[in-house]
């Protein structure tokens, strides 16, 4: 899906023209490996992010399958508890930091300049650097599995002192890898904000932008606000482990709960960082295939901003059983319940967009519709978790695991796949194979529900998280979950097949690949040439 270098690259023309007022002359672009190492083009960097993310999805997915294989039946059959803990930890870290976040960043890189009519991102060389930090960070992280003492084994939330005093020696490298990934996110966020604020086509006001740009703009501010907090807390860990400090060690006058406050102050906005771009993608797809403008555009913008602001005020709902003072417990219960309101507003707006539309069910739409239903189910379990007294029974059980996997897998991941199916024609010039995509869709829907729905029940019945073996009353639920997990995992091979086939060929797609698609990216050819909007387009806005 990387755009082919056009036969007549502009450079060859300008070298024969007079140099007064011409575009800057530069050497012929490199080919092969150096092309990808050095590219500053938003389309190529977008593709790099997406390919990296897809690879990491499979690695993180294999870790999950090790977990589910062990949990298939009671007893310890395949791995020992120490390794099991590494698998659950690495599954979480890879999926959050190496799969979901880079996927959204890849989509941002490809589509934001196209949607606002800009020739590229504001800071193209910084863009290249932001990407290449990621393979370094995650090679380092994955290598910790091979270090003496094994890799991180304390959960993706790495609470102290399990992750400091009692942690394996590789923890210092885990911290370094997160620092590198964090820098990548911060630089990427700066780039996105600078691009959106400065490089919109003339006539495109903020309230004219596609919602994907709005959700990414807000996400970028969240990233800049909270990634430094993560950097702070992992540096405090680094010091506790290596330099004799006691930030999180009570015996030295420190406080393990401080770790949790700092981590979740990052961690809660982080989960909104992982979902807001998904909201933007779905807000592009549903209007296209319902052939009706998004209902309540302004409300959608305000709701996204409200969610982002509120996301800073809810963090301790992850800490309801830590022993917070009553006033704090109540405050966080109330704010967590409130954040459900703007989220609900968005769901209502999508459904009202469908109402009295003219709907077709192409693959992007299938995934977007599944998102609306299944993310909402995840939202319902989230609302139940917000009820603090009840949370004492849900916390650290599979009920929580069910909740966050619903909002992340048929939530964020389905939105990513919807976006890929939606924009593949623009990237490659071909429609993805519909039959294969439909198989991918239905197998994924069945797989995802078989995997995660039973977890609501095993959690309510009393199964804690992060255990490699369980009491007999949880056996049936775990059996079904494990079968579902393998089905879901295998189905993703279909996705890879669709993408590869689409890059190589398929039914030709016109510029406006989807009849109901409205935004600026559909005015450039399919596949999009390497350089687009070198002259800003004239933007026609809707009359209000």
């Amino acid at each position: 899906m990387a755009p082919k270098l056009p036969l007549h690259h502009p450079v060859q023309q300008s070298s024969t023209a007079s140099d007064a007022g011409q575009a800057s002359a530069h050497a012929a672009p490199p080919r092969g490996l150096m092309r990808w190492l050095l590219t500053t083009n938003h389309k190529e960097i977008g593709s790099l992010y997406l390919i990296f993310s897809l690879t990491m999805f499979f690695i993180g997915g294999i870790f999950a399958l090790v977990v589910r294989a062990e949990l298939f039946q009671p007893g310890l059959q395949l791995v020992n508890p120490e390794f099991f803990n590494q698998m659950t930890t690495m599954h979480g870290l890879i999926m959050v930091f190496a799969a979901v976040m880079p996927a959204f960043t890849g989509l941002a890189n490809w589509m934001i300049p196209l949607q606002i009519g800009a020739p590229d991102m504001a800071l193209p060389r910084l863009n290249n650097f932001s990407f290449w930090l990621l393979p370094v960070a995650f090679t380092l992280l994955l290598s910790t599995l091979l270090m003496p003492g094994g890799g991180p084994n304390f959960g993706w939330t790495f609470y102290a002192p399990l992750s400091t005093t009692y942690a394996p020696p590789s923890t210092t490298f885990f911290i370094l890898s997160l620092h590198i990934a964090g820098i990548s996110s911060i630089l990427g966020a700066i780039n996105i904000i600078a691009t959106i604020l400065n490089m919109r086509a003339p006539g495109m006001r903020m309230m004219d932008m596609p919602l994907f740009c709005w959700t990414w703009l807000i996400t970028a501010f969240l990233l800049i606000a909270v990634m430094p907090v993560l950097a702070g807390v992992i540096t405090m860990m680094l010091m506790d482990i290596n330099f004799g400090t006691h930030f999180f060690n009570a015996a030295g006058g420190g406080d393990p709960v401080l770790f949790q406050h700092l981590f979740w102050f990052f961690g809660h906005p982080e989960v909104y960082i992982m979902i807001l771009p998904a909201f933007g993608i779905v807000s592009a797809i549903i209007p296209t295939f319902a052939r009706k403008r998004l209902f309540g555009y302004a409300s959608m913008v305000y709701a996204t901003a409200a969610i982002a602001l509120l996301s800073f005020l809810v963090w301790a709902h992850h800490m309801f059983v830590v022993g917070l003072p009553l006033a704090a417990e109540l405050f966080f219960m109330y704010t967590t319940m409130i954040i459900a309101v703007p989220t609900g507003v968005k769901v209502f707006n999508w459904i009202t967009t469908l109402f009295r539309g003219s709907i077709t069910f192409e693959p992007p739409m299938l995934f977007a519709l599944a998102f609306v239903v299944l993310f909402t189910i995840g939202g319902f379990s989230g609302l139940m978790l917000a009820i603090a007294p009840a949370d004492f029974q849900y916390h650290d059980t599979y009920f929580v695991v069910a909740h966050f996997h619903y909002v992340l897998v048929p939530g964020a991941v389905f939105a990513i796949m919807a976006g890929v199916y939606y924009w593949l024609p623009k990237w490659t010039g071909h429609y993805p194979n519909v039959k294969l995509a439909q198989w991918h869709f239905w197998l994924s829907v069945v797989g995802v529900n078989l995997t995660f729905f039973p977890m609501h029940f095993s959690g309510l019945a009393g199964m804690p998280r992060r255990i490699p073996d369980y009491a007999l009353q949880f056996a049936d639920f775990n059996l079904v979950s494990s079968l579902g997990a393998f089905l879901f995992g295998a189905s993703q091979l279909l996705f890879v097949a669709v993408v590869i086939l689409c890059v190589r060929g398929g039914e030709k797609a016109p510029a406006r690949a989807w009849e109901g698609a409205e935004d600026l990216e559909w005015t450039v050819p399919s596949p999009a040439p390497l350089h687009t909007f070198e002259t800003p387009p004239t933007f026609q806005r809707h009359e209000h």
């Binding site: 393990p256 052939r291 209902f295 022993g323 009202t352 709907i359 519709l369 309510l460």
Partner: protein, 372 residues
């Protein structure tokens, strides 16, 4: 005092929930305390609210997907905003949530009120067992998983309470308010008994407070609910709740035993007595890491059978068990094992599996060592 809202919701829920509550393998237990029942009601109330909202919302959605299909000839309408509707569907959910927040607040306040307790029990999380101390009573003991590892490996058939059974359950009286003071000796653990709806993180350096008043005698089982390392899944909780007189008798018996044990520190113990006692301590405390035959799991868990340093240096051996090895997985057992238990387990280790040193470590020697 329940609000009328909760009564109504409870009533509705009761009609439909009764079948669900019976299928208890699927739902949160109602539990055996007043608070656990309130929490169950809150849970069912928010659950039904979500179901109703889901039915309405998905109903409209699926209706639209069906009725407004292009293949049926649907033509798209033109509308794309409506401020009144946006205000309504912002305000109505907000009101529903306020409605939920009121009873939730009331219940939370009760959960936080541990005053006027009739019994105080200290709960200490350790890697990987629980320790219970009846405050003011000199009665204290460790509670470790008693499921044989052979069952975990599938070499023996699994019992009914697989992974949910312990050697020494926590014993509590019913109908008395029991206050828990909870902490940890190492990492964060979490003490959870679903039938009491009591869950609290046990945090090193902090003492958390919680309470229960159990209404029904019985045996109640729970698990550690915070990832705490290798055997996080293998440190369950068992509470044996009994009638008040039965409890008082039990406590008196334990108090006597503790006194005997304390006196036992001063006397001279025979090798056979120490071995017998030490075998039991080893099985419940040491075997999970160092294995039943002392073969260990090197390098993390050294072998004890044939361990040359252990054989040569009895002083180092005792010091290691009492004070641990900082920077490794070997904890200090001086706060988990009393001097008799320490003496016995060191004696056992020095003589089992062909180690055969013939050493008998006396509790009085341990007391001296601990004082250094």
């Amino acid at each position: 005092m329940r609000t009328s809202f909760v009564w109504v919701a409870n009533g509705m829920a009761g009609l439909v929930v009764a079948p669900a509550a019976l299928a208890n393998g699927w739902n949160m237990p109602v539990g055996v305390s007043d608070l656990s029942q309130e929490i169950h009601s809150l849970h069912m109330t928010i659950f039904w609210i979500c179901v109703i909202i889901g039915v309405v919302v998905f109903g409209v959605m699926f209706y639209s997907l069906f009725k407004f299909r292009r293949s049926r000839g649907a033509k798209a309408a033109n509308f794309h905003e409506n401020t009144v509707v946006e205000v309504i569907w912002t305000a109505v959910p907000l009101l529903i949530l306020i409605g939920m927040a009121v009873p939730a607040t009331a219940t939370l306040k009760k959960m936080y009120d541990a005053s006027d307790a009739e019994l105080d029990v200290m709960i200490i999380g350790q890697q990987w067992r629980w320790r219970y101390e009846y405050l003011g009573e000199e009665v204290a003991f460790n509670s470790s998983l008693s499921t044989p590892r052979a069952q975990v490996r599938g070499e023996e058939p699994r019992g009914e309470h697989y992974l949910l059974e312990v050697d020494n359950p926590l014993v509590l009286p019913i109908n008395r308010k029991v206050r828990f003071l909870m902490t940890s000796d190492d990492v964060i653990h979490s003490w959870w008994v679903p039938d009491f709806a009591v869950k609290q993180d046990t945090i090193p350096g902090f003492v958390n407070e919680n309470w229960v008043r159990i209404n029904e005698p019985g045996i109640y089982r729970g698990q550690c609910a915070e990832l705490c390392g290798m055997d996080h899944g293998f440190m369950p909780i068992v509470v044996h709740a009994m009638e008040e007189e039965e409890f008082d008798t039990w406590l008196a018996e334990r108090r006597e035993e503790a006194e005997q044990e304390a006196m036992g520190v001063d006397r001279e113990w025979e090798l056979e007595e120490l071995m017998e006692r030490g075998e039991g301590v080893y099985a419940s405390i040491c075997a999970s890491c160092h294995q039943p035959e002392g073969q260990g799991s090197p390098p993390a868990f050294p072998a004890l059978a044939g361990n040359q340093r252990l054989l040569d240096d009895a002083d180092w051996h005792l010091d290691t068990v009492a004070n641990g090895v900082p920077g490794t997985a070997m904890p200090a057992f001086r706060s988990t094992l009393n001097p008799v238990e320490l003496a016995a387990v060191v004696t056992w280790t020095r003589n089992a599996w062909g180690n055969d040193t013939g050493d008998a470590v006396q509790p009085s020697a341990v007391v001296e060592k601990l004082a250094q």
